[in-house]
């Protein structure tokens, strides 16, 4: 009983997870990315449900490690990480705050029209695709035809 009273609330856990940066794009957090699907106490075990962005994303292992490390740092001892494949992750789960942070960092946020709305550096809409793929599985490579800077575009899936 006392254990139940002592344990941090689910909302508190979400706030803590909101402070864990994505290992490859550290300006956004794991909650901004929309990959934390559920947080739930089962007895004295905290179950965190995580969905992968891309099935081969090498960051997945690091993300799990970072979640555990952060939560242990807040005194939680029993943690179970659950992988959930369905519903499959979509960029629609990126938070509004996350989208703004991406753009400020120089990564154009995903657009349903499947191309960036504007250059994240100068704001020009005069942009062209360089490659459908980029430096991580979740990004494509684009270029601004006005300021001539290359930039990453967060793929819309």
């Amino acid at each position: 009983m006392s254990q139940t009273q002592d344990r941090p609330s689910v909302q508190q856990i979400w706030d803590w997870l909101g402070q864990v940066p994505d290992p490859e794009i550290p300006v956004i957090s794991l909650t901004d990315l929309g990959i934390i699907r559920d947080v739930d106490w089962q007895g004295d075990t905290l179950v965190v449900t995580v969905t992968p962005t891309y099935s081969g994303c090498p960051a997945t292992t690091i993300i799990n490690l970072d979640i555990e490390t952060a939560l242990r740092g807040h005194g939680i001892e029993k943690i179970e990480l659950k992988r959930q494949l369905s519903p499959a992750w979509t960029t629609e789960w990126l938070s509004e705050a996350g989208r703004a942070k991406l753009e400020a960092y120089g990564i154009a946020p995903p657009q349903p029209a499947s191309g960036p709305e504007r250059c994240p550096h100068c704001g020009s809409t005069h942009v062209e695709k360089v490659s459908q793929f980029g430096s991580t599985p979740c990004k494509a490579t684009w270029r601004c035809r006005d300021c001539l800077e290359p930039f990453d575009y967060f793929k819309c899936i």
């Binding site: 891309y54 099935s55 081969g56 994303c57 494949l85 369905s86 499959a88 793929f133 980029g134």
Partner: protein
């Protein structure tokens, strides 16, 4: 053959296709004609190998003998692999690699679309995840086949040669055996032959735009997906892919 034995075979086919093609595509890493293509190929390989972990991981779970995805990938020999012969074909030039990718992606996206409604939820959820990635692969491989096919005289000739070379390996995708029958009866996976009309329509559309001619032959090399007779290329591929686990069994990062 029990339901689970057939399911294990089916899952090995799915996982071995993505594993062997993923490995083949990764052979381009550091060798592609331009940096952007190098990155694209490596990313495609990464997606495929990621999907392999899901398919072979589930295969091991269904088999229930303690083999995980790594064991299945690195501790089996050529005769235990269940991939299509198409995906073990050597890369050849860049055009042939992209043609092979297109012929595979077209089939893969159609199949994964059907598997999303599989009666086996663990199959459906992997298909849901993988189909998003496969659709993205198809977009790129189809675009590239069109650009190169309808490109210069040289690129056109190379793409036609690639299609002629790879065409006899397409038919194997649509031939059913007892495993497929069992999967279809259980509602786990579609009858392979049922995918052909959609495949032919998609290929016809893209290859026409690429100004390429589909060979007028239905001859099909077989023996990969049932493991009866792989090409000599698979063994050579495995000597590279499995080398570390063969030399240092169960080595870990």
């Amino acid at each position: 053959m029990t339901r689970d034995q057939a399911l294990f075979e089916f899952l090995c086919r799915m996982g071995d296709n993505t594993l062997i093609l993923g490995h083949r595509v990764s052979e381009w890493c550091g060798h592609a004609p331009v940096l952007e293509e190098d990155i694209a190929l490596a990313n495609t390989a990464l997606d495929l190998i990621g999907q392999t972990q899901l398919w072979l991981g589930l295969a091991g779970e269904v088999e229930g003998e303690g083999r995980d995805a790594d064991k299945l990938a690195f501790h089996r020999d050529a005769w235990d692999f269940r991939n299509l012969l198409l995906v073990e074909m050597p890369n050849g030039d860049f055009g042939r690699t992209l043609m092979r990718q297109f012929l595979f992606d077209a089939w893969h996206t159609i199949l994964l679309g059907r598997l999303m409604t599989s009666s086996e939820p663990r199959v459906a959820e992997i298909a849901e995840k993988a189909s998003k990635e496969a659709a993205y692969h198809l977009e790129r491989s189809a675009d590239t086949v069109v650009s190169l096919g309808d490109g210069t005289e040289e690129s056109h000739a190379r793409m036609q040669a690639a299609l002629d070379y790879l065409w006899p390996y397409v038919g194997e995708m649509f031939v059913a055996d007892a495993v497929d029958q069992a999967m279809a009866e259980e509602g786990i996976a579609p009858d392979p032959a049922s995918l052909r009309p959609e495949y032919d329509a998609l290929l016809g559309r893209v290859l026409k735009e690429a100004t390429l001619i589909i060979p007028d032959s239905h001859f099909a090399h077989k023996g990969g997906r049932d493991g009866r007779m792989h090409s000599e290329h698979l063994g050579h591929l495995l000597t590279q892919m499995q080398w570390l686990q063969r030399a240092y069994p169960d080595a870990r990062w």
